[in-house]
């Protein structure tokens, strides 16, 4: 197998083998090619940032990783499984091991924070008792409350999420991800729709929680300062091709700016 070349893998807390191995991944939506020959690896416990301008293929890459969209070619191995070869049932079980925090929090607006967090248990449990907080077993409710407490929102448990602020909603989404008990976390611009302070708070929370739980964090960010502050390694995408793979400690901010649509102060 033609293994990808890695840069910067000797730095940071990487200790074990890769939890994610992407080889020669390409994706096109019929017309233009969105991803072209993308290869990289992510190691256990490492926070990996993927940066790139709008249309560079970041979000498509993330969707390919959990097969929300099928790659045109290439291979993805994540958590010891070949993502491309899975049937529907295996894919469901695989997805349950991967936490995703979305740019738009994607919570169910009319439900309470607790119900939304509790939905995370659907990764390992099905049936009506995982659908609504009032029907859930006591231990599941207690775990959901503990997840809410970890993001500092235990006092908002029964509040409808559409009555919470943007930052609080993103925290609820993070609590839902924790409820899932993931082995790896993908975050698609979790700071994008938030004001600068809330965005930084959310990124710090996500980064701290990932470190506490020893989770691998793959994060797409459009803010240079967050990329530098909350990642161990940076991959830069331009036109669907990886043109940068560097340890964050060795990254030159001036060099990174070209991967962002607007210069970030």
């Amino acid at each position: 197998m033609n293994l990808p070349q890695f840069v910067g893998t000797t730095t940071g807390p990487a200790l074990a083998g890769p939890v994610l191995l992407v080889s020669d991944l390409s994706k096109s939506y019929g017309g233009p090619v969105v991803l072209r020959g993308v290869s990289f690896a992510a190691f256990s416990g490492v926070s990996l940032a993927i940066i790139g301008a709008n249309g560079s293929g970041k979000s498509t890459l993330l969707k390919c990783l959990i097969r929300l969209t099928d790659p045109s070619s290439g291979k993805i191995e994540m958590l010891g499984q070949s993502v491309g070869d899975m049937g529907a049932r295996a894919l469901r079980q695989f997805r349950s091991r991967v936490g995703v925090v979305w740019q738009k929090h994607n919570l169910v607006p009319r439900l309470s924070a607790l119900s939304n967090v509790l939905h995370g248990v659907q990764a390992r449990m099905s049936g009506p008792r995982s659908w609504w907080q009032w029907a859930a077993p006591a231990e599941v409710r207690a775990e959901a409350m503990a997840c809410l407490a970890r993001v500092g929102l235990a006092d908002k448990a029964l509040q409808r999420v559409d009555s919470l602020s943007g930052g609080q909603q993103q925290r609820v989404a993070i609590a839902r991800m924790l409820m899932q008990r993931p082995e790896l976390v993908l975050a698609d611009e979790p700071d994008a729709s938030l004001d600068p302070q809330s965005g930084e708070d959310v990124m710090r929370l996500l980064s701290d929680l990932a470190r506490q739980d020893g989770l691998t964090l793959i994060i797409i960010s459009h803010r240079l300062e967050h990329t530098l502050a909350f990642s161990d390694r940076i991959i830069g995408l331009s036109g669907g091709v990886i043109t940068l793979d560097v340890a964050t400690s060795q990254a030159d901010p001036a060099m990174l700016r070209r991967f962002f649509d607007k210069p970030t102060q």
């Binding site: 959990i66 929300l68 469901r92 079980q93 695989f94 997805r95 349950s96 991967v98 995703v100 979305w102 738009k104 994607n106 919570l107 169910v108 607006p109 009319r110 439900l111 119900s115 939905h119 995370g120 659907q122 990764a123 099905s126 009506p128 995982s130 659908w131 609504w132 989404a173 839902r176 899932q180």
Partner: protein
């Protein structure tokens, strides 16, 4: 004074096809009116009969309330038929709507079949369904309830499916990404998002059911309509007026009640 520009033509130029289309529509309207609408002479004679001292309208007044207790119980039965028909119809409309929704249907063929059945249920009038179910289960309210149920599956199935099509897909995708089952996605993300729309549709279905149930008795499918038909057949027009007035009270009460609930819930 600046020289005025020549006025544009009064009518735009139209093609031959457009003139033909206009003539065809006019011919359709005219022949329909001439073949089916009552003549002026017929209308005049009918109106005279209506207002004659021994005419239909005069015999209606004053309304006869002597059988008001019996009529009240028949109205209760009518309301029960409406509630039962609407409730059963709404319950069965949900799976039909799920199967008819693009993102939730397990297979395109099943989606087309579900949409076809919903359209069929909606297209056939409830009176026809009532006649069909009278043949199946006999005369009485059971046939009415089944007719209302089928009619409501058609009515609510369409609106439920539309609401689910329009629901925000973000939360559904998020749950799919977690590994949630199809039922998990439906009950956790789709239904809560559609709740206001489902509530409004359900209340409209109940209103429609109450109006429909009053008429079903005319073909023998139970409810107050049976008594209305008998009153007309026996020329008891004063009793018929009482029934019509009490039906009006019931329908207005249900409509007002459902409007109030909608305003509180949505």
């Amino acid at each position: 004074m600046p020289q005025a520009s020549p006025a544009p033509p009064r009518f735009q130029h139209r093609s031959i096809a457009e003139y033909v289309a206009i003539i065809v529509v006019l011919a359709l309207v005219l022949t329909s009116v001439m073949n089916t609408a009552p003549s002026l002479d017929k209308l005049q004679r009918g109106t005279a009969r209506l207002f004659a001292p021994s005419g239909f309208l005069m015999q209606m007044f004053p309304p006869d309330f002597s059988r008001v207790e019996h009529i009240t119980w028949k109205l209760v039965e009518t309301l029960q038929m409406a509630v039962a028909g609407a409730a059963l119809g709404l319950v069965f409309a949900v799976p039909f709507a799920i199967l008819a929704t693009d993102r939730l249907s397990p297979h395109p063929v099943i989606k087309i079949a579900a949409r076809g059945m919903i359209a069929f249920f909606r297209t056939v009038p409830d009176l026809v369904w009532a006649i069909f179910f009278i043949i199946v289960v006999g005369l009485g309210p059971a046939a009415g309830v089944l007719a209302l149920m089928i009619d409501k599956i058609g009515f609510a199935g369409r609106f439920f499916a539309e609401a689910m099509e329009e629901a925000d897909t973000g939360p559904q995708d998020a749950l799919r990404a977690i590994g949630a089952s199809r039922m998990g996605v439906i009950f956790s993300a789709v239904f809560p998002a559609c709740l206001p729309s489902f509530t409004a549709t359900s209340l409209f279905a109940l209103e429609k059911s109450v109006r429909g149930s009053a008429a079903l008795g005319l073909v023998g499918a139970g409810g107050i309509g049976v008594d209305l038909k008998v009153a007309f057949d026996l020329f008891n027009y004063d009793e018929a007026l009482t029934i019509i007035l009490m039906m009006l009270v019931l329908v207005v009460a249900v409509e007002q009640g459902s409007s109030w609930i909608r305003s509180k819930l949505i």
